[in-house]
């Protein structure tokens, strides 16, 4: 069903349209939530909150936007709420995963080029698994920014607003998150 038709039926509070919305977007929104929340129950709760929020807020959906993008934003916000509501243990440091430099500004350890084509990478399940596990190892405040900016492709400003931090802080965290992820991949791929 086209977005515009589905949205107008949702606005008319058509119960079947809500079920169509659930069946169409559930699987992919659950995957988004699982990236942010490692606990399956939390991910399911976030998706549930997101669908209820979407149904209640459907009048605020702007014509011309993509329904899938709007729903992604809602589920990301629901996942962030869940993360915030949990008492966090002190976050791990990221410094050990950043490049090290000598006093004169040179890299302490020579970098090696292990880059490969995207096709080559996607074909190898072991590489994909390494990427997933490495993203999961990032400290939460960095992992969240990486997911929002590089994976969900939210803008710096949107990310800053959702997290209540400055755009500059988003840029700093994103760069550090990518560097840390690069270090984790490097440990396995540089051979």
């Amino acid at each position: 069903m086209e977005d515009a038709v589905l949205v107008s039926r949702l606005r008319a509070r058509d119960e079947n349209a809500f079920e169509t919305l659930l069946r169409t977007y559930m699987a992919r929104l659950l995957r988004v939530a699982r990236r942010f929340l490692k606990n399956e129950e939390d991910a399911r709760d976030a998706v549930q909150d997101a669908f209820i929020a979407a149904f209640r807020g459907i009048d605020r959906f702007q014509a011309g936007s993509k329904l899938s993008t709007w729903l992604h934003r809602i589920v990301v916000n629901a996942a962030l709420m869940k993360l915030r509501s949990r008492r966090r243990h002190p976050e791990e440091e990221i410094d050990a995963l950043l490049p090290r430099f000598a006093a004169d500004g040179h890299q302490v350890e020579e970098s090696r080029d292990w880059s490969m084509s995207a096709e080559e990478m996607v074909q190898r399940e072991e590489t994909r698994e390494l990427v997933r596990q490495s993203i999961d190892k990032l400290p939460e405040s960095y992992r969240v920014v990486l997911l929002m900016r590089d994976i969900e492709e939210m803008s710096t400003e949107e990310t800053a607003e959702a997290l209540g931090i400055t755009p500059t802080a988003v840029k700093v965290r994103l760069h550090r998150a990518r560097q840390a992820l690069r270090t984790l991949l490097d440990q396995d791929l540089r051979r």
Partner: protein, 84 residues
């Protein structure tokens, strides 16, 4: 000919994200590429930094494609909440 000193590896790596987004001034971008021309380690770092971004995107995009079924119990639970 540029009389400007070469930037260090540290400065280059600090600039990578802005370089990739095209946010450097012409002078900064020029400093960046001059350093790359003489530093294989930074060329490798840049290539693997870009690969890291692609690796995240491609892996999660790949994960998005399988035809996984939506969990029926969750659909029913949400429909029930709506009925209340």
């Amino acid at each position: 000919m540029s009389a400007r000193p070469y930037i260090t590896c540290r400065e280059l790596i600090d600039f990578i994200a802005d370089y990739l987004e095209g946010l450097l001034t012409e002078i900064q971008a020029n400093d960046f590429t001059r350093h790359l021309d003489i530093c294989p380690s930074c060329r490798a770092y840049l290539a693997t930094y870009q690969m890291t971004i692609r690796a995240g995107k491609e892996t999660l995009r790949y994960d998005d494609s399988p035809d996984e079924d939506a969990p029926e119990d969750l659909i029913q639970a949400i429909l029930k909440i709506r009925e209340r």
